[in-house]
Every structure is written in structure tokens, then in C-alpha cells.
């Protein structure tokens, strides 16, 4: 933690954070929707429902946050950051590689990155898993289902 937040602070209250999140999304969605024609009830424009829903979302968020002192439990983020970053990085790497480097390399890299989500993942197992899953998906999607994939970089 970069800064100290006391245990019973609202900043650790699930319902307070959730309410603020909904308010933020509602406000943003409503702001964007101002560019769309609102229209009249008879001729509802593309902005009609988005504006109404965004306002509703904002109000729900507001009342959730307002009552959070009584309702919300404490959020526990311990240990989530590593799997989060690792898995998202693995997915992002796959999306960058699939068309340039092909299915085989992209799959190998995805599995190997994924394995680092858990500390002390046995290296041999990770390699074995990466190879066998890659063989598996190539067999399933390319050979059995015939989906056209870029398989190799060349």
C-alpha cells in the first residue's frame, strides 16, 4: 500500500466503492449520451434510453454509497494483483501474437505466462503443459474443426 488506509475507512468498504463505481459509470455514460438525440417519448431518439438508464445507474450508486456505512463488508485485495496482471498480460500477449507469430507460438507463450500467476510453479510442468495444450488446440481447432488459423509465423 502506497498510503495508509485505516481498516474501517470507507475506502475499504465494498458497498461504498461499488456505489462510487456505479455513480462514475452512470455519470460517464450520461455525459457521453448527451451527444445523442434525446427525442420525445413519441419519437424516442438514440439518446433517450441511455440518458434514463445512466441517471438510474447514478442514483442506484448514490444510494448504495450513502447506506454503505451500515451494509458493506471490507474489501480484501490481498494476493489478487499478481494473478490479475499475469492473466491479463497472457491474454494481451496472445492477442498481439496470434496473427503475427501464429497459433503455436501464441499458445505456448500464453500458457507459459499464465503459469507465473502462481508462485513457485514447477518449471518442467509449465513447459510440459504448454507443449501438450498447444498440440491439443492445434489438433482440435485446426485438424478436427478445420478453422483457418495462422499456425506458424511464416
Amino acid at each position: 500500500m502506497l498510503f495508509h488506509v485505516s481498516d474501517d475507512s470507507l475506502l475499504r468498504n465494498k458497498d461504498f466503492l461499488g456505489g462510487v463505481l456505479l455513480m462514475a459509470v452512470g455519470a460517464t455514460a450520461g455525459f457521453i449520451a448527451q451527444d445523442y438525440t434525446f427525442g420525445t417519448p413519441l419519437r424516442m431518439g438514440p439518446g433517450f434510453l441511455p440518458v434514463c438508464l445512466a441517471a438510474l445507474l447514478f442514483l442506484i450508486g448514490l444510494s448504495l454509497a450513502a447506506r454503505s456505512g451500515a451494509t458493506g463488508g471490507r474489501i480484501n485485495v490481498a494476493g489478487t494483483l499478481r494473478p490479475l496482471i499475469v492473466v491479463l498480460a497472457a491474454v494481451a500477449a496472445f492477442s498481439l501474437m496470434i496473427e503475427r507469430a501464429g497459433l503455436v507460438l501464441a499458445s505456448l507463450v500464453l500458457v507459459l505466462i499464465c503459469c507465473t500467476a502462481q508462485p513457485k510453479y514447477p518449471r518442467n510442468q509449465a513447459l510440459l503443459l504448454a507443449v501438450s495444450l498447444t498440440v491439443g488446440v492445434v489438433c482440435l481447432f485446426v485438424l478436427a474443426l478445420g478453422i483457418p488459423f495462422q499456425i506458424w509465423p511464416f
Binding site: 461499488g18 431518439g45 474489501i75 497472457a90 491474454v91 481447432f141
Partner: protein
């Protein structure tokens, strides 16, 4: 008799060798993935969706339905053997099922779960076949106001019956509706919430949302918990239930079937609530309620029958009205749209082969489950011993490939990561993501029907209470919300739907 000639069309369509094969592959793959701890039907269907892309719509839906039942049954297996429910509807099976397994009676528990599910499936199937056409012919008379009110009722029920805070689930529904509106507005052609990205001009793809919010987010959360589950190693002897087991199970199975069939039809209810209610009912009816929780076979038979019956009759509103009764059905509905079939009462007349073929294949799928699962139990037990660290990279890989093959777009994979992040935030903040998917599917439909209603009524919103049917539906919705404001009922609901039951 119409019913039988209709079923004949269905069996003719479903019994072709290729379709039988698809059904078999669906059921086995569904069980195979569904048996993995912490992987429910939603994740299973979304991960396996890509393998159906190449099929014709009927075969694809038959296979998807097979995957659905397989996953449902796989979830019960996990619940009984390792006390880990794959999804909320098998939570209740954990109680007595796992207790039976600890008493060395895992075999009979699994067998009665399969047999009960099959019996329930058979009866529920006939109910679907008899009831769906009636509802569909009725639904043809529905106008936009009725549809709008029905969808509203579906959303309200989903919000009221999901566990946790009502305010939070309503928030999720509204967020889902907003997400559903993204893309090109059909009436005006305006791009909404596309952020100038051409890939978003068609809106978000429901598969990406489902995989991100349910699949990826769950995986990330599970890695953290570093599932130190006790691997079930005892061998399963004497699979067959004894004569006493049967004689004490058939009544709960029958009661569970009726209960589940009735609840499954209602929009928004689904499988979870019916299994909980069946358990409560069996416990009330039992001569010696104290046996429950200690391995009472009635506590496995009833709820398993109930949730399977509900899983089947849930297809009635989905197929005839185009209104999904839960997140899983929303996924099936999304798949139908993907194959170019507009869900609604007209499906039965325009695609009778698909409609009745699907119904017939539900029964065939259930039969396959019984035949397949009992002998293959050893294999499923082995699956349970696969450590989580070997599992999650596989699911991440399958999700990425599945999303990519949707439109051969790398942008979709990045969106998957984004929705994984959103899903994780929602999990951390105790938001239930299932209503979000329901709202997402219904968003565009509701907007369309709201617009049409307003045009019919020349902008007068009282049209929704002037039409009798629409009024009744809205009154039910209001009554549901009002009932949640009565503390006693709310408390009962919390008791019935607590996650850690």
C-alpha cells in the same frame, strides 16, 4: 394427437446419426469440463461455444443443449465428491451428497442423482412439448407493450431472486442494459458508446462478455484462493443404490420434478431456487428431519430432480417468447441469434425441425447422461484430481481462441481481457454478474419494444397499464418488489439463497 406428431418430427431430426454424435459429443464435453471444480455451466458453454460454429443451427443447438446438461450433471458430481459446487444450483447437493460420499456411499449418491435427473428430464420434456406450443400460439398475439412488460418482469424476478443486496443486482441489470445498447442504434443509425472504434459498431459481443465476466474473472479469483481442495481418492464401490434407496427416493424425485417444472417456466427463477425449495420441502416432509445433512438420500434425489426439471422447462420462455429465464438461457438465446435465428413464438412455425429437434434431443441427451456417466464415473473422478494449476491455463487458452474465432479479430481478445478485469472488480465488490448478462441480452429488445409501444400509443406511457395482459404482468412485478420490502419474506429469501448453505 398433435403432441406426438410434433415429437415425431423432433425425433426424426434428432435421431440422424450425425446429430446423435453431436449430442453425444456435447454431453460428454459438457460433463468433462463441468466436472472440473469451480467451472459451472455458464463457463462451460461459453468456452465450448466456438466448436459449434461450423455446424448447422439445429445441430449446433442440440450440441449446446447437450453441453448444458452435461455441465449441469458434472457440477453435481463435483458437489458430491469434493463438496465444491460448480454453480449455485448444485450448492444444495453438497449438503447430503457429500455427506453420503463421506459415509462411503458416493456411488449410490451419484447414481440416484443421475437417475433422478433422468426421470425429471423425461417428465419435464413432455411438459415442454405440451406447453410450449400453447404458450407460443398465445404469444403470437402479444404486442410490443406486452413484450416490454414481460421482459421487465423477467429482470425484476432476476433481481429479486439473486442473492445479496437487491440494490446491487438492480445496479447490475441497469449496467447490463446500458452495455446492451452499445453499437449502432437500429432506428437512427447513430453509433452509441463505440468510442470511435470500428470493431464496436456492432456493439459488444455477448460471448466476450460472458467469457470475460464469468470465465476469466472466476479464474483470476480462484488462483488467488489457491484451491487447496482435498482430493477425493477413495475408490467408488457398489454403484447401484439399494432397494431402500429407491423406495425412499422415488417420491422426492417426483415431487422435485413437479416443483422444478413449475418454477423453471417462470422468467427469472431458474434452477437454483427450485433445488433449494425442493430440499426444504423434503426436509419438512421427512419423518426424521435430523437425518438431513448427515447423508439423507432424499436430500440428493429431490433437489437434483428439481434442478434438472427446471433446467428443461426454462427452455419454454426462452424458445417461445425469446425471453431468457436466467444467465445460462441468455447465453443459449445469444447463440441462437448468432446462428441467425430470431428467437420468439415464430421459431416453432418457421423452424419446426429445429424446435422439436432440440426438444427431442434434450431427452436423448438426458438418456445419454445416464448411460455415459455411470460407467465413466472412474474417469470423472480422475478429472477431479487434476490440479487447478494445470487447469486454468487451459481455460484461458480456450477462451482466447474461442473469442478470436468469433470474428478473427485480435481486438476481441483485448476486450476479453477488459471484461475479465471488470468481472473481477465486480466479484471483489460483491456484485452478482449474472443479472448483468440478462440485462445485456434484453437491453436492445426492450428498447425496440418500448419504442414501438410509444409509437402505438402516440407517446402515452399509460399504454402499459391500459392493456390488461401488460397490466397483470406489471402488477406481478410490483408485487414481487413489494414482497421484498416485507422483512419476514426477505429474511426467508436470504435463508433460501445463502451461498454457503
Amino acid at each position: 394427437m398433435d403432441l406426438f406428431s410434433n415429437l415425431a418430427i423432433g425425433f426424426e431430426a434428432a435421431l440422424s446419426p450425425m446429430r446423435l454424435l453431436y449430442c453425444l459429443v456435447g454431453v460428454s464435453l459438457g460433463t468433462f469440463i463441468g466436472v472440473l471444480p469451480g467451472v459451472g455451466p455458464l463457463v462451460t458453454i461459453s468456452v465450448l461455444l466456438p466448436i459449434t460454429y461450423g455446424l448447422d443451427p439445429t445441430s449446433a443447438l442440440i450440441m449446446l443443449a447437450g453441453i448444458y446438461y452435461g455441465a449441469q450433471y458434472g457440477g453435481s458430481t463435483t458437489a458430491i465428491l469434493v463438496n465444491l459446487p460448480g454453480e449455485s444450483s448444485s450448492v444444495i447437493t453438497c449438503l447430503d451428497g457429500h455427506a453420503m460420499a463421506k459415509n462411503g456411499r458416493a456411488g449410490p449418491a451419484l447414481a440416484i442423482a443421475a437417475i433422478g435427473s433422468f426421470a425429471a428430464g423425461t417428465i419435464a420434456n413432455l411438459i415442454v412439448a405440451a406447453f410450449a406450443p400453447v404458450l407460443a400460439s398465445y404469444a403470437l398475439k402479444f404486442g410490443s407493450p406486452e413484450y416490454f412488460s414481460l421482459m421487465l418482469l423477467g429482470l425484476v424476478t432476476a433481481a429479486v431472486l439473486s442473492h445479496g443486496s437487491l440494490l446491487k443486482s438492480v445496479g447490475m441489470i441497469v449496467l447490463g442494459l446500458l452495455l446492451g445498447l452499445a453499437g449502432t442504434d437500429v432506428t437512427s443509425g447513430t453509433y452509441r458508446y463505440t468510442f470511435g472504434i470500428p470493431d464496436l459498431s456492432e456493439g459488444f459481443d455477448f460471448v466476450i462478455i460472458a467469457m470475460g465476466v464469468f470465465g476469466l474473472a472466476d479464474i483470476i479469483a480462484n488462483i488467488r484462493e489457491d484451491q487447496m481442495r482435498t482430493v477425493f481418492s477413495a475408490s467408488i464401490r457398489n454403484l447401484m443404490p439399494s432397494r431402500e434407496d429407491f423406495s425412499s427416493s422415488w417420491k422426492p424425485i417426483f415431487r422435485g420434478t413437479l416443483l422444478g417444472s413449475a418454477l423453471g417456466i417462470l422468467p427469472g427463477t431458474g434452477t437454483t431456487i427450485s433445488s433449494f425449495m425442493s430440499y426444504a420441502m423434503e426436509k419438512k416432509l421427512a419423518k426424521d428431519p435430523s437425518r438431513f445433512g448427515q447423508g439423507a438420500i432424499e436430500g440428493v434425489a429431490g433437489p437434483e430432480a428439481a434442478n434438472n426439471a427446471a433446467a428443461q422447462t426454462a427452455f419454454i420462455p426462452t424458445l417461445t417468447l425469446g425471453i431468457p429465464s436466467g444467465a445460462t438461457m441468455a447465453l443459449m438465446l445469444g447463440a441462437m441469434t448468432m446462428f441467425g435465428i430470431a428467437p420468439g413464438p415464430q421459431v416453432m412455425t418457421t423452424n419446426p425441425e429445429l424446435f422439436w429437434g432440440l426438444i427431442a434431443s434434450m431427452w436423448i441427451g438426458n438418456l445419454m447422461l445416464v448411460i455415459l456417466n455411470l460407467p465413466l464415473l472412474g474417469v470423472w473422478v480422475k478429472m477431479l484430481q487434476v490440479p487447478y494449476r494445470m487447469l486454468y491455463p487451459a481455460i484461458v487458452l480456450l477462451s482466447c481462441i474461442g473469442v478470436y474465432t468469433l470474428a478473427n479479430s485480435t481486438f476481441s481478445i483485448l476486450l476479453l481481457a477488459l471484461f475479465g478485469l471488470i468481472g473481477l472488480i465486480l466479484i471483489m465488490l460483491d456484485f452478482e454478474p449474472a443479472p448483468l448478462l440478462l440485462g445485456f441480452i434484453l437491453g436492445p429488445l426492450m428498447e425496440e419494444n418500448l419504442r414501438r409501444s410509444m409509437v402505438i400509443s402516440r407517446g402515452d406511457p399509460t399504454i402499459f397499464i391500459d392493456r390488461p395482459l401488460s397490466l397483470i404482468v406489471l402488477l406481478i412485478a410490483v408485487a414481487l418488489v413489494a414482497s421484498m420490502l416485507i422483512p419476514a419474506i426477505r429474511k426467508k429469501k436470504e435463508e433460501a439463497i445463502t451461498e454457503e448453505a
